[in-house]
């Protein structure tokens, strides 16, 4: 194999890590860097131009997720939204009388898991629920974990590594019956599948612009009217006092535009992406022995494919494929540099060695059949080459 001579391929299959901003998004942002540079809190004309852009975007974001504009708080992204939701609700609802309790899952993004771990040090009890072998939390287990002092349940909408969709509506029922706030990290759902705040049943929902062709550094927290929450950042009165700091107007304008376009095109894009993903999975299963598609039997977002190629390491596969021009990830992007196997796959019961042999392919609207063809040509060869080197033979 003379792979290093195959130059020129550049295929992006890592959309769960981030996406490039659409042209229309960049155009929507540009005026607010310089010509319309005002501070949205200023009373004068410059400020009002910025304020209009922020409020237009708020309506566009709200519209994408079936919310009212007044229920949208702009933040710096998914991580901040998760922090605000979890810390903000616990701060608002905890009482000195009893130790507060939070329920979450063992497959959450680090923005949720580490925030909950930090709260444990501040006197909060946290239950990290297991998942089944398909990577889904069960609403019955959520219900069984509820205590009188449970203040908050936080379970993601779709997992970033496997794409597995969690039973939000059923968990919302549990939360409602117990008078418990329900937060949903929808960062990997919004812009990939239709997300309706009412149907999800969330009191709080985190979304991030750069996961669906918006700019980085901007996101939102949906807060259903009437939900008790306190600010985490102290400072000015921006965002109804819940998120101090001068609004990032260009990013907010771009976020709004990304939401508008996503609402328009989601149906067609989902069908295209799902077809490519199914081709990739069929192709992998047909061409490579001893592989598994993680979460395949569960309901998933249409763009995500998590594959275990046994007897090799995902990092080696990923780097080899990268030299050939294919960008994808092993484990979750945030875990790169850590040698621990994916906490999500471990929670699903994968053997740690198998978990280390996993890669994530996450597709986007701009991917093509030709790119899938090229990938299905490359992956079996790379897998075979690395397996030739492996001292582990045929077992597993």
């Amino acid at each position: 194999m003379n792979d290093r001579d195959e130059k020129g391929t550049r295929v992006y299959f890592d959309h769960n890590a981030t996406t490039g901003a659409r042209r229309e998004v960049v155009e929507a942002m540009l005026p607010y860097f310089s010509r319309r540079f005002g501070n949205a809190s200023s009373l004068h004309l410059f400020g009002q131009e910025a304020r209009n852009a922020v409020e237009r975007a708020r309506s566009q974001v709200a519209s994408l997720i079936g919310a009212e504009p007044g229920e949208i708080i702009f933040t710096s992204g998914g991580t901040e939204s998760d922090n605000l939701a979890i810390r903000g609700v616990v701060a608002a609802k905890r009482t000195p009388a009893r130790r507060p309790h939070v329920i979450t899952s063992s497959i959450e993004h680090p923005a949720v898991i580490r925030t909950c771990r930090a709260l444990e040090k501040e006197g909060v009890d946290v239950t990290f629920l297991p998942v089944n072998s398909l990577g889904a939390v069960s609403a019955e287990e959520v219900e069984a974990a509820v205590r009188p002092e449970t203040l908050l349940i936080s379970v993601m909408l779709a997992n970033n590594e496997t794409g597995v969709i969690q039973p939000s509506a059923a968990i919302a029922g549990v939360a409602r019956r117990g008078g418990i706030a329900f937060h949903v990290d929808a960062v990997q759902g919004a812009g990939k599948i239709p997300v309706d705040a009412g149907a999800v049943g969330a009191d709080l929902m985190s979304i991030s612009a750069h996961k669906f062709y918006g700019p980085k550094g901007i996101g939102a927290l949906y807060i259903r009217r009437g939900t008790g929450i306190e600010a985490v950042l102290t400072g000015g009165h921006q965002e109804s006092g819940l998120r101090a700091g001068t609004e990032n107007v260009p990013a907010i304008a771009g976020f709004g535009e990304a939401c508008r376009i996503s609402a328009d095109r989601l149906g067609a894009e989902m069908a295209h992406i799902a077809r490519l993903r199914d081709r990739i999975e069929r192709g992998i299963l047909a061409a490579i022995p001893d592989v598994g598609i993680n979460g395949a039997g569960a309901e998933r977002v249409p763009n995500t494919c998590n594959v275990t190629v046994r007897r090799v390491e995902g990092e080696a596969l990923t780097l080899y494929l990268s030299v050939l021009g294919f960008a994808l990830s092993s484990g979750s992007a945030c875990a790169t540099g850590e040698t621990d196997p994916s906490h999500v796959l471990i929670a699903m019961g994968l053997d740690p060695v198998d978990a280390q042999g996993s890669i994530r392919i996450s597709l986007g609207a701009e991917n093509t059949d030709e790119e899938v063809d090229a990938f299905l040509d490359a992956l079996p060869r790379v897998a075979a080459r690395l397996r030739e080197m492996s001292p582990i033979r045929g077992k597993c």
Partner: protein
């Protein structure tokens, strides 16, 4: 990942001395087959020197590249010279490694030492050579 050195990719994409010697004079392993990188080294000793060396590795790119580089460093060396090969020499042969990957070069040093030790132990026992 910021591997800037071409030697790293050269060893990773086109590793030398991959395989396993049939009926070797010495076998050495390093790592842990049940939970991570695992390197298996086999050697043939000819007139007190490493006449042939092969490796198999299940591991990350750094483990593969450093294992390959280690076999190049060891081939043709006397046993004493082979035992003196260090992880940092191996790391140098691929142009350096990022901090969190430096431990990978230890695998090569360890497996090579184990293979030589295995050869010496077999000779000690007076086991007839192949």
């Amino acid at each position: 990942m910021e591997f800037v050195d071409g030697r790293f990719f050269d060893h990773f994409m086109d590793p030398r001395n991959v395989g396993r010697i049939e009926d070797p004079d010495g076998t050495g392993a390093a790592g842990d087959p049940s939970c991570g990188d695992w390197l298996l080294v086999t050697i043939r000793v000819e007139r007190g020197k490493i006449g042939e060396i092969r490796f198999l590795c299940r591991g990350c790119s750094s483990a593969i590249a450093t294992s390959s580089a280690m076999t190049e460093l060891a081939a043709g060396k006397s046993l004493e010279e082979a035992l003196a090969i260090t992880a940092s020499e191996i790391e140098g042969a691929v142009g350096g490694l990022p901090e969190e990957k430096k431990h990978c070069s230890l695998l090569g040093e360890e497996a090579l030492k184990n293979a030589v030790a295995d050869y010496l132990a077999r000779r000690e026992k007076g086991r007839p050579g192949p």
